[in-house]
C-alpha cells in the first residue's frame, strides 16, 4: 500500500505533460469552436455573440446540406469497401510471403505515401482530364473525346488511390500476427480454401479490418484536396464546403457547426462500427 502513492504520482507526472498538450492543442480549440458554432454570422461585424442553435438547424433542415453529407458518406463507404476488397488479397499475399522481394513489395505500397495528396490529385487530373491519357487512348480508338474529370468517379478513384496503402499496411501487420499453423490446421482438417478463409482467417483478421476500415473511412470523410481538385465546382463534399464557409464566405459560426456535424457523424459511425465488430468478434 505504501508503494502505491509514489507510483501514482510518477504516473501522473509522466502523463501530465502529454495531457496538458492535448488539452491545450485539442480540447481548448474544440471548445472555442463549439462556442463559435452557437454564434450568429453577420457580414459587417463578422460574428455576433449569441447562443443559438440556428447554424445546426440550418444544416439539418436543408436538403442541400444533408445531401452533401450524404454524398460524403457514400463516397467514404464505397471507397472503404473497395479498399478492403482490393487491399485484403494484397495484404494477405504480402504477410504470408517468404520471398526476398517482400520488403520491395512493402516499399512499393509505402512509396505513394511519400507524395502529397494534392500532387497525386494533379496527377489524376492529367490522366482523367480533357486531353489527358484516358482521353487520348479513347480518341485513338475512335472515340470523340471523354472527360472523366469532375465526376464522382474521379473523386472515388482519387480517394481510393490515396487510402489503399493505409488499408494494406494495417491489414498486413494484423495478418502477420495470425499464426500460419492455424490455417494449416484448418487445411489438415479438410476445410476448403473458401471455408478456411471465411471461418478462420476472416474472424481472426476482423480487428485489423475494423482498424483499417475506420482509418480509411475517417480519411475519406475528411478528404479535402481530392474532392476539391477532382470533383470541381459541381461536386460537393463536406471538407471543401467547410473550408469555403470558413475561408471564403467568412461565416465562422456556420463553418464551426459544419465541422461539428462532420466530426460527430464520423465519430458516431466509427463507434457504431467498432461496437458491431466487437460483438461479432465475441460471438466467434
Amino acid at each position: 500500500m505504501t508503494r502505491r502513492r509514489p507510483e501514482g504520482l510518477t504516473a501522473s507526472l509522466l502523463i501530465g505533460p502529454a495531457t496538458l498538450v492535448v488539452l491545450l492543442s485539442l480540447v481548448l480549440p474544440l471548445a472555442l469552436l463549439a462556442r463559435y458554432s452557437l454564434n450568429r454570422y453577420d457580414r459587417r461585424t463578422f460574428m455576433v455573440e449569441a447562443f443559438t442553435p440556428e447554424n445546426y438547424l440550418r444544416f439539418v433542415t436543408d436538403p442541400f446540406y444533408t445531401g452533401v453529407l450524404w454524398t460524403t458518406f457514400s463516397i467514404a463507404i464505397v471507397t472503404t469497401l473497395l479498399c478492403l476488397l482490393m487491399g485484403f488479397p494484397i495484404a494477405y499475399k504480402l504477410a504470408r510471403s517468404q520471398s526476398r522481394w517482400k520488403s520491395i513489395g512493402v516499399l512499393l505500397i509505402i512509396l505513394p505515401l511519400f507524395i502529397g495528396s494534392t500532387v497525386r490529385a494533379l496527377g489524376w487530373m492529367g490522366v482523367l482530364g480533357r486531353g489527358g491519357i484516358v482521353d487520348a487512348i479513347y480518341g485513338a480508338m475512335g472515340g470523340t473525346g471523354i472527360s472523366l474529370l469532375y465526376t464522382s468517379f474521379a473523386v472515388g478513384l482519387g480517394i481510393l488511390s490515396i487510402n489503399l496503402p493505409y488499408m494494406i499496411l494495417t491489414l498486413q501487420s494484423v495478418i502477420e500476427g495470425i499464426d500460419a499453423r492455424v490455417e494449416e490446421a484448418a487445411d489438415s482438417l479438410g476445410a476448403s480454401p473458401p471455408r478456411r478463409f471465411w471461418h478462420v482467417v476472416l474472424p481472426l483478421a476482423l480487428p485489423g479490418i475494423a482498424t483499417g476500415g475506420i482509418l480509411v473511412f475517417i480519411l475519406a470523410m475528411n478528404a479535402y484536396a481530392t474532392p476539391f481538385l477532382l470533383g470541381g465546382a459541381r461536386f460537393q463534399m463536406m471538407a471543401p464546403m467547410l473550408y469555403r464557409e470558413f475561408a471564403v464566405n467568412n461565416n465562422w459560426p456556420f463553418a464551426a457547426a459544419i465541422a461539428f456535424i462532420l466530426m460527430l457523424t464520423t465519430l458516431t459511425l466509427t463507434a457504431l462500427s467498432s461496437l458491431l465488430v466487437q460483438r461479432r468478434y465475441r460471438a466467434q
Binding site: 457580414r43 459587417r44 442541400f64 445531401g67 480533357r130 476539391f228 465546382a233 471564403v248 467568412n250
Partner: protein
C-alpha cells in the same frame, strides 16, 4: 527592463521635430523617420506582393525611409483579421489591399479612414470612374469575352452572343458573380439587378457550361477545346497569351464590368502618415506603369500614359467600351444570398 530605456514614439517624434530646425542633425531625422516609418501592408501573396515590392516599396518608399512589412494572405482571412481588430485603438495593419467590393464593405462597417488630396496628393490624377472617398483604385482590368481564335471565327460581341456557346462556356467559380453582373448589364441594362441574372446563369449551367474552381484551370480548358469562350479579366487573357495559350479578348458592346483592386487605410492603423504615403506611391505613374507592364492591369490614373508593346496590349478598342465598376451597394446587399443560390444551382446541374 529594456522598455524603460527605449525612447517612446513621442520622444522620437519630438526629437525629430527639434532636429528638423537644425539641419546639422540631419542624420538624426533620418534615423527618426526610419524608426517611425514602419508600415504594415495587408496584401495577397504571390506575384501581386512581389510586384508591390518591386514597383512601389523598393523604388518609392525605401528612399523615404519607410520600411514596409507585408502581411500576406487570402482576402477573406485578412478582412476577418481586420474586423476582429476593429475595436482595438491600434490595430496591426496600416494599409489593406482588397477587391473594390470588399473595400465598400469595410467602409460600410465604418473601418476606413477617409481619404482626400491633402493626405494622398496623387488622388487628383485618379480616373473619376474609379474614385471613391475611402479607397484608392490601385489597378483595374475590364471583363472581356475570352475566346479561342482557332475555333471561334466570329468573336461574340455581347453576353447574349456568348450564351449561344452553351456547354462550351467556361465560368470561373470564384468570380461567377461578375458573370451575373455582366448578364444583368446586358439583359436589364443595369448590373445592379444581379438577382435578375439568376435565370440566364441557370440556363448556362443547364446547357452544360463548365465551372472551374481555380482561375488557372481556364487556360488549359481553352487550350484543350473543353471550352471555347468565357468571361474573364483582360489582364488574365494577356497573361495566358504570354504563356503561349492561343486566346483573344472580345470587348462586350454593352460595356465591360471592371475589376478594381483597392487599397485602403484602416482607422486604427498604427502609422497613418506612412500609410497615406504608401497609397500615394501606389498612384505614382512609375509604379502604375510597372504593374501594367508586368501584370497587364490598367493604370487607374490619368497621367501614366503607356508606351510600346504594353500600350498595344492594353489598348481598348475604338470606340472605347464603357468601363463599369461593380455596383457596390447592390452587390453587397445580395452577395450572401447569391453565393448560396449559386452553390445549389451548380449542384443541381
Amino acid at each position: 527592463m529594456s522598455h524603460d530605456t527605449k525612447p517612446s514614439r513621442r520622444t522620437i517624434l519630438a526629437l525629430a521635430a527639434g532636429a528638423g530646425t537644425a539641419p546639422i542633425f540631419a542624420p538624426a531625422i533620418l534615423r527618426a523617420q526610419e524608426a517611425t516609418g514602419r508600415v504594415v501592408m495587408s496584401t495577397w501573396g504571390g506575384d501581386y506582393a512581389k510586384l508591390l515590392t518591386q514597383n512601389i516599396e523598393d523604388p518609392l518608399l525605401k528612399p523615404k525611409g519607410i520600411e514596409v512589412v507585408q502581411d500576406a494572405g487570402t482576402e477573406p482571412t485578412r478582412v476577418a483579421k481586420a474586423i476582429a481588430q476593429r475595436r482595438l485603438p491600434r490595430g496591426s495593419v496600416d494599409v489593406i489591399a482588397v477587391q473594390a467590393p470588399a473595400a465598400y464593405d469595410l467602409e460600410e462597417s465604418g473601418m476606413l479612414e477617409p481619404l482626400d488630396e491633402s493626405k494622398v496628393p496623387n488622388l487628383k490624377y485618379v480616373q473619376s470612374t474609379f474614385a471613391t472617398p475611402y479607397a484608392i483604385p490601385h489597378i483595374y482590368s475590364p471583363q472581356v469575352i475570352a475566346y479561342s481564335p482557332e475555333r471561334v471565327k466570329t468573336p461574340p460581341k455581347s453576353f447574349t452572343e456568348m450564351e449561344a456557346y452553351g456547354g462550351k462556356v467556361g465560368i470561373l467559380d470564384n468570380s461567377y458573380i461578375w458573370v451575373a453582373m455582366a448578364a444583368a448589364l446586358k439583359n436589364q441594362g443595369d448590373p445592379g439587378k444581379i438577382v435578375d441574372a439568376k435565370a440566364p446563369l441557370e440556363k448556362l449551367i443547364r446547357a452544360g457550361a463548365k465551372a472551374y474552381t481555380s482561375t488557372e484551370a481556364f487556360a488549359p480548358a481553352i487550350k484543350s477545346g473543353e471550352i471555347d469562350v468565357g468571361l474573364v479579366w483582360h489582364a488574365r487573357v494577356l497573361f495566358w497569351t504570354k504563356g503561349g495559350v492561343e486566346m483573344r479578348s472580345s470587348f462586350p458592346t454593352e460595356g465591360c464590368m471592371t475589376y478594381v483592386s483597392s487599397m485602403c487605410v484602416l482607422k486604427n492603423a498604427p502609422n497613418k502618415a506612412a500609410a497615406f504615403a504608401y497609397l500615394n506611391a501606389a498612384l505614382d505613374p512609375q509604379a502604375q506603369r510597372g504593374f501594367a507592364a508586368t501584370m497587364g492591369y490598367h493604370p487607374t490614373i490619368t497621367n501614366a500614359a503607356l508606351e510600346g508593346e504594353v500600350a498595344k496590349n492594353l489598348a481598348l478598342p475604338e470606340p472605347a467600351p464603357k468601363l463599369i465598376p461593380a455596383p457596390y451597394p447592390q452587390l453587397s446587399a445580395v452577395r450572401d444570398d447569391m453565393n448560396d443560390w449559386w452553390r445549389r444551382t451548380l449542384e443541381r446541374r
